[in-house]
Symmetry: C2
Subunit: 211 residues, 2 copies
């Protein structure tokens, strides 16, 4: 078996046995491949080549391509949602938190090759795989909740106008950023993401209680 790298493996090594570590490494290696090629466009052969595992080694850990794809997508979505909303608690103020979340997305719109796993799965599965689709729905729901919690905290503290709907702001932030990422990747330019940041800044200024 070839040794292949995985982000954060060292933290996990302590609590995981060798089989768990291999399984986790397969997931981390498969995630960007599925993200780039989609469920239909990626085969177990591709994963065998990327991991250096033989067929028997791969199927010892995952019974089917669907099982591996589901785990790989869970891993990709969890990393994405976390990277977009973690570490905001050190920032004072709801609007500053939301601005920081926008800024971080614009700077690092996707953590792995192939763009945003949420959007890729939403588009890829909208006439297809239900298990993957449910994971994307959960990822979206978690992202929305994390943003809405910040908006509602800002309403309670008096920083954000009381008549603002948290869901509307969360939906708009996600829609604008994800749409801008789609344009940005299609054009091969960051311009749409920079433009989205300016427009979201206008929106956040408008929901400030003192605006």
């Amino acid at each position: 078996m070839r040794i292949f790298p995985m982000a954060g493996a060292s933290d996990m090594d302590v609590a995981m046995n060798k089989g768990d570590i291999t399984r986790q490494r397969i997931i981390a290696t498969a995630a960007p491949i599925f993200n780039q090629r989609g469920f239909a466009g990626c085969s177990m052969q591709d994963i065998m080549e990327a991991t250096g595992l033989e067929k028997g080694g791969l199927y010892r850990h995952f019974q089917s391509k669907e099982e591996l794809a589901t785990e790989a997508l869970s891993y990709a979505l969890a990393r994405s949602v976390r990277s977009r909303t973690d570490d905001l608690k050190h920032i004072d103020g709801a609007l500053a938190k939301l601005r920081f979340a926008v800024q971080r997305f614009v700077e690092t719109p996707s953590l792995m090759p192939g763009g945003c796993p949420l959007m890729n799965t939403a588009i890829d599965t909208d006439d297809g795989n239900l298990a993957l689709r449910k994971l994307a729905q959960t990822g979206l729901s978690n992202w929305k909740k994390r943003l809405a919690v910040i908006v509602n905290a800002g309403r309670r503290s008096g920083e954000i106008r009381a008549d603002v709907e948290a869901r509307q702001i969360a939906n708009t932030m996600i829609a604008t950023l994800e749409g801008a990422l789609m344009i940005s990747r299609l054009e091969g330019s960051k311009q749409a993401l920079l433009d989205a940041r300016i427009s979201l800044e206008v929106l956040l200024n408008c929901i400030a209680a003192n605006s």
Copy 2:
């Protein structure tokens, strides 16, 4: 050969011969199938079944799946971009035109099953088919230009602030609407589109010269 319907066929019948009409009807039938299943997920067999044509009949008009997919995507994109920006000249004022374009998208986000062909192709081809990708780039560019022309007319007439960048508004409108459509389809609810409309209304109010 089975007779299959095509929107607007009667207008074309006058100027087209029988071969052209059949070709055009194949394109109109293939477009929603490619839009739903993607280039890789749709076969010439699927098109044969949908059109009722035999293999020889289909290949008489299109040498390859790629040729048919390219024509089908051109057709789908042209219809989409037109439906989103046509008929605005009867509306007075740049801001009213932009609001109307938002409203129309929210009411009819996609003309054919499978969602927006621009976004589907952008996501489907971002690691794949170059010919289809170029068509999506052109479709996006046309949509952006049409919106930017309206913004710039509003700047010249004094209705929109002179310091507003037309490209920024066009990028934001498209990003927000396309992203909201993605969320809306994933959630099976119009909420994200309705929220996008409210937020774009805030943005349009902010770029008004008298704001």
